[in-house]
Structures are given as C-alpha cells and as structure tokens.
C-alpha cells in the first residue's frame, strides 16, 4: 500500500511511508546511498556521515533525515561525492587500514564504498596510530586498527544479543571501542562467536579467530560487482521483495 507521498532523489520520484528516512525510502526503491554506520536491520546512528546528501541546499545524513514530501535530494553530484571522499579519506588515515593484508579485503564495506566513490588515493597525512589487537577471546579477535566506530556491534549486542558488550568511550579523536568485562578484555566479556554483534562489523575489526582468506579471490562479496549492487542494499531489497511477495500471496 502506498502513501502516495514522494520526494525527488537525483530528479527521480521516490515513494515513502510516514516515518521513513531518506535512506529507508531510497533503499526500498533500489537506490543506493553510500553508507557505513547504517544497516537496515538496526536503528540509524548517523555517526559516519558517509550517507551525506544535499536536501534543499543543506548537507544532511540520509539515514537520519526523515523523508518529506517534495524535497529535492542530491545523492550523486560531484560536490556530494567529494564530501564523501573526504570523509572516507579521513577514516583511512585515522586508523591503519592495510587492505593488501586484511582478511576482510574484497568483502569490506569501507573498501567497497571507497571504490564506489572513486577514492583512489589518500589526501591527508596518515596518523599511523599505535593500536593493539585483543585476541584474548578464544573464538573472536578485535583489531583496534580497523575499527571505524560505526557502533553497529554496540547496537547489535544491545538490541539483538541482549548483552551490552560494546560501548564507545572517550570523545572526538580519542574515542575508542571498549568492552564490558571486569578486565576490559574481550575474552572476559559475555560475547559469543554466534552473536549478531560479531557478524555485523562492516570492516575487518571484529572477526572470528583461526580463519581468514577462506573465500577465494573472485568469490568475495565485492569482487565482481560494486557495493551499490550487492551490498546490504541488495539484501534489504531481497527481504523487501520477499515480504511484498508474501503480502501479495495473502
């Protein structure tokens, strides 16, 4: 059932329901808006700002901005793409993202979004922070170098797993992910390898131990098609299509 309400995304009419964000409506319509901290399965976070769009002359995050009748949303102009590239370039220098050796390479959203936005070179000076690995958990490893503080593990652990294992501590450049355990170590937390929080990481920060590179080159998620086609947008579309199809069957 359609509400009959629409807004314009790059000149194209997008239908939306009451309560939808621009991101919700765009994904449902099969239109890709680059994003990292957003995952359709969870409440919007609005922290990475990679989904920045221009709404009637104002830059806003599409994952938190409610859709509104007749607004004009720019999702793909050079200016918007340049803003996104800048945000990504900052993310890449703030941590240590060594794609050639990372086991998430080829299936990493940060890498895939960077390719999508044509981020082909660094712009800012690398911070090269000295960050550790927490491998204290028998089944899970956490790489602080690769964490982009998207908060997805925090939301998944709280909202799906009911454990509250993760939290972002500190402010600004000193922010970091901390673990809810007596020692502060991941190994002393309640996290289990089957938890939603472990599988939701968009980068290679939170991963199961003792495995890696098991998916051959050529078969990884983003090896042959861009994230705009095979990313979580596609997942959301397939979920949406199957629910629509069950609705019509009823």
């Amino acid at each position: 059932m359609s509400s009959g309400k629409t807004f314009k995304l790059d000149g194209k009419a997008i239908s939306f329901e009451e309560g939808d964000t621009i991101m919700d409506a765009a994904l449902r319509a099969g239109e890709y808006i680059p994003h990292l901290c957003h995952n359709p399965e969870f409440k919007p976070h609005g922290s990475c700002r990679v989904c920045v769009v221009d709404v009637n002359g104002h830059s806003m995050s599409a994952c938190t901005r409610p859709a509104e009748q007749d607004i004009d949303v720019d999702n793909s102009s050079d200016a918007i793409m340049d803003l996104r590239r800048s945000l990504l370039q900052m993310l890449f220098v703030e941590g240590n993202h060594i794609c050639p050796a990372c086991e998430k390479s080829g299936a990493c959203q940060l890498q895939a979004v960077a390719y999508y936005t044509r981020m082909l070179s660094p712009r800012f000076t690398h911070f090269f922070p000295r960050r550790s690995i927490d491998a204290s958990h028998p089944d899970i490893v956490f790489y602080f170098n690769r964490c982009i503080l998207c908060g997805l593990c925090e939301r998944a652990s709280r909202d799906v797993d009911g454990k509250n294992v993760f939290s972002i501590s500190g402010r600004g450049i000193n922010s970091k992910l901390v673990f809810n355990s007596p020692s502060g170590k991941l190994g002393d937390s309640e996290l289990s390898v089957t938890d939603k929080a472990v599988s939701v990481c968009p980068v290679g920060a939170l991963l199961p131990k003792h495995q890696g590179y098991e998916k051959p080159i050529g078969k990884r998620l983003y090896d042959t098609k861009p994230i705009s086609v095979v990313g979580d947008a596609a997942l959301y579309q397939s979920v949406n299509r199957s629910s629509k199809s069950s609705e019509s069957n009823e």
């Binding site: 690995i133 491998a135 131990k209 590179y213 098991e214 998916k215």
Partner: protein
C-alpha cells in the same frame, strides 16, 4: 674456504670503488672493492643496502594472516613465501597432512611460480650477458637488445613467464600476492574450465623450455673452459630432497653435500633446521651468513638454488629434465658442478622440469576435488621449508595461547647464498680486475657473477640496467684519480 679478500689486512689508504646499484638483479645492493696503488684487489664485498624487518613487524599479528602477510616480502617470488608460511601454519593448526587436492594445488602453484621466476631471470635479466657477451656495449646489453636481435627468444621468454603467472592466477586468485594457500590447505580447487585453459598451452611451454635448455647449453659449451672457471668456487650444497632422493621443491628433507659430493647430512626433518644450520653475522653487512653447524662458519657456508638442487638430487622424476640432469652432472667428473655460471644451465633444467610437472598435474583429477582443508589441535610453533626459485627458504613461527605470533625467523634463499656470492665476486675481482684500470666491462663481470645466483636483494624492486652510477678512484691521499659516470640514459663518461 673463506677467501682472504673478505677483509683487507691494512685497509687504510686503499682506493675504494663502489658498484652501486648492482643492475639486473632483484632489489638493491652494491659491491665495494679496495685496491692498493698497483690496482691489486685487497678486499671485495657484496652489501645489501636495504632492510625489510618482516621478522619484527609480524610479531603481534594472528598466525592465520601469515601466508598472506609475509608474501609481501617479495614481488617476484611471493608464492614461495606464501607457501612456506602456509606450511608453517599447517603445523600450527595441527594439519599433519594435507588433502590430496590441497597438496596438488599448492604444488601446481609452486611449479607455476618457479617457471615464471626462472624465465624472468634467464630471458629478461641474464640473456643479454650470455647472448652478447659481458663486454657488449651497455646500451645494447639489455632486454631491448634481445628483442631487437633475437625476437623469437625474447618472445619465448615473455610467454613462458606469462604462462607461469597464469598458473599462479588460477590457483591463487591473483598473479601476484594471491590468497590460495591458507593454514591447513587451500581456499579453492580448480574448475574443469580452468584446467582446460592451462592445458591449452602446456605443450608449447614444454617445447620452449626444451629449446631454452639447448640454448643455454650451446652458450655454455661454446666457451666451456671459461664458463667452467668464471667465478667458480668450491662450496657445500644444500637443498630439500624427496624421500627417495628425487628432485623436490615443495616438500622433503634437507640434504647437504660437500664439493666432492660427499654427504654431510641427509633427509633431515626441516623442523630441526636449528640443529644443523646457524646464522653468523659480520659487522660490515646487514645480511646474515648461514653455515652448517658441524663445519663451522669458516668452512660450513654453502650454496642453495638451482645449482645445489640439481647437484644434490639423485634423479628428476620427469624424463626430459632427467636426461638433461645426466648431461649436466656428467661435466663434473664425479664431483659436484661448481661453476657459478652453471646456475643458468641448472635453472633452465628446472624450468623444463616445472613445465613437465605442470603437464602431469593437469591430468590429475584431484585438482578439482572438494576436500580443501585439514585441521587438528592448535600447536605453539610451526616451521615451513620450501625450495624457492632462488633456493631453500625457511619460515619458523612461534605463537602464544591467543594465536598471536611472538617469534619469527625467516632465512630467505638469498641469505643462504650470501657467503657464496661474496666468494664469487672475490674470485672475479682477483681473476679479472686485479691490477687493471677499471672499466664498465670489467665491473660488469662482478655483476655477472652476482646475477648468476639470481639474488633477490630486497625481494620487491627491480633495477633494469640503466640506473645512474658513479665510480670514483681515490688514492691514499684522498685525491681523485679517476671517475666513471653512468647516466640514466646508459651513457658512460670518464669525467676526470
């Protein structure tokens, strides 16, 4: 066995000549020569002017990253590091044996790697010296000169290398720095289409490989005495060997023989390499000097790579290469072949063996099997040894209870040949440079000796013969007597 030219007795006041960078080798290195006032050579040393540091910075990384991470040491033979690390981590994950599919895919990858690396070395880097002479005009003595004068040979070199790279791509996912081998096995087998694709050209590859062996033999026999004596040194030989004594580059025990062919040790479990081999250090080099423990540092240094492997094996398991091996070892008259330039000959016999082995493997149905991984109980350490194109390669790791690397030791092929390369340049220096005014052609003879070993000095960079170079001759009063400058264009001028 170590030459007295390693360290001059009275270095003060001697003229110092530097060949820097060495050209047409992998990576960056230099040779320093000290001469007295009569131009007599008093000291000759090969220096590696780069530092990689992988053993240090992989500490703190999870063990399952090692096969992918450590292969970044090298852009020419990354598969060797990839597989040596994979073999070490096989031990860590308790995989005593691989599945037939995993082992054969890895072997195929390694044959492809050795084939492409040997083709690169012979055709691109060394054929200009061998085809045109060590004193050929420098602007002609390069791969472009080969393309102009011998287009068919150049084409075969390029296409042989391409074929090896394609084998790597199909098995590892990429031509350089793939991910095929993982702890306990591999991440993909081959499809029937991929096997069909590789089968298409293998007949041609074998034919070209045979022609390449005949070519190097013709060159060798044309000036037999010269090739046998040039940079020739007596050394021990170390290599991996199969249980039955057959030539082996993927897995086996360690065999060492002396210059007369007597066995020093045989079929040694490479996990115990530390009991048989030690690494010495010298205050003038960043590269270590491995030696056979029982013989000591002075007499225990050895050579690795094609010359050692072909000398050490009892036979090749493939017919064409075996026929060539017999002719090769027949020149030694009961000893081991010690000619440094025979490295080229041995290398191309290996290239032929790799092409034959690839053809054999492509008919094996295990290549498209589905059982890819074996794992057991996690172990605290693992050692992987493989015969890389340039020689025996050791990877040794220890991990903590969390699976994080706490210690790593890598002895790379070129390190094993360190003393031997030094001895070879000393032989050349004393044979051809001693008492002579330096010239580009004479200095190239030093480089020819080093090139025969196919050293991978930094493992990732290429110097293709047109690097700027300046050689100063200074007397004991510090006065400049002579200066040769080689410009980036290849032009050489005497500027004093």
């Amino acid at each position: 066995m170590t030459s007295e030219l390693e360290t001059a007795e009275h270095p003060k006041g001697l003229k110092r000549t530097v060949i820097e960078p060495l050209t047409r080798v992998e990576g960056h290195g230099k040779v320093t020569l000290l001469q007295d006032e009569k131009q007599n050579i008093k000291q000759a040393r090969l220096h590696i002017s780069e530092f990689r540091g992988f053993e240090k910075f992989i500490q703190g990384r999870p063990y399952w990253e090692l096969p992918v991470l450590v292969q970044r040491l090298c852009g020419i033979c990354p598969v060797s590091h990839h597989l040596a690390a994979a073999k070490a981590t096989d031990m860590i994950v308790g995989a005593a044996e691989l599945t037939p599919t995993a082992e054969k895919i890895r072997r195929l990858m390694h044959f492809g790697q050795t084939l492409q690396s040997h083709a690169l070395h012979f055709f691109h880097l060394c054929s200009p010296d061998l085809l045109f002479g060590f004193d050929d005009e420098v602007r002609h003595r390069n791969i472009v000169g080969v393309i102009e004068d011998e287009p068919e040979i150049a084409k075969q070199g390029v296409l042989l290398r391409k074929y090896g790279q394609e084998v790597i791509r199909v098995t590892a996912g990429k031509r350089i720095h793939g991910t095929g081998a993982i702890p306990g096995g591999i991440n993909k087998s081959l499809s029937k289409d991929e096997i069909k694709y590789l089968k298409r050209d293998i007949g041609q590859v074998i034919e070209w490989a045979q022609q390449a062996v005949e070519l190097v033999k013709r060159i060798f026999f044309e000036h037999y005495d010269y090739h046998m004596s040039f940079a020739s040194i007596d050394s021990n030989m170390l290599s991996v060997i199969r249980n039955d004594g057959a030539f082996e580059i993927y897995h086996g025990g360690l065999r060492a023989r002396d210059e007369k062919g007597n066995t020093i040790f045989d079929h040694i479990d490479y996990s115990c390499y530390g009991d048989y081999i030690r690494e010495g250090v010298k205050n003038w080099s960043y590269m270590k000097f491995p030696f056979i423990t029982s013989l000591g540092q002075e007499n225990g240094w050895y050579r690795v790579g094609p010359l050692a492997r072909v000398n050490n094996c009892d036979f090749f398991p493939t017919p064409l290469a075996e026929r060539q091996r017999r002719e090769f070892t027949g020149t030694a008259e009961g000893r081991t072949v010690q000619s440094t330039l025979a490295y080229h000959w041995a290398r191309l016999i290996e290239l032929l063996h790799c092409s034959e082995s690839i053809a054999e493997l492509l008919n094996d149905s295990d290549l498209y099997g589905n059982e890819l991984l074996n794992k057991g109980e996690l172990q605290c350490c693992g050692t992987g040894v493989i015969e890389a194109p340039r020689g025996t390669l050791f990877h040794h790791y220890e991990i903590n209870d969390d699976g994080i690397v706490k210690k790593a030791n890598l002895i790379v092929s070129t390190t094993n040949n360190n003393q031997a390369m030094n001895e070879s340049i000393r032989k050349v220096a004393s044979q051809y440079l001693d008492g002579n005014q330096l010239s580009e052609a004479l200095l190239n003879q030093v480089e020819v000796a080093v090139r025969a070993y196919d050293p991978c000095l930094s493992c990732a960079t290429h110097a293709m013969g047109k690097m700027p170079l300046q050689i100063n001759l200074v007397n004991d009063k510090g006065e400049l007597l002579d200066r040769l400058e080689k410009r980036a264009s290849g032009e050489i001028n005497r500027t004093v």
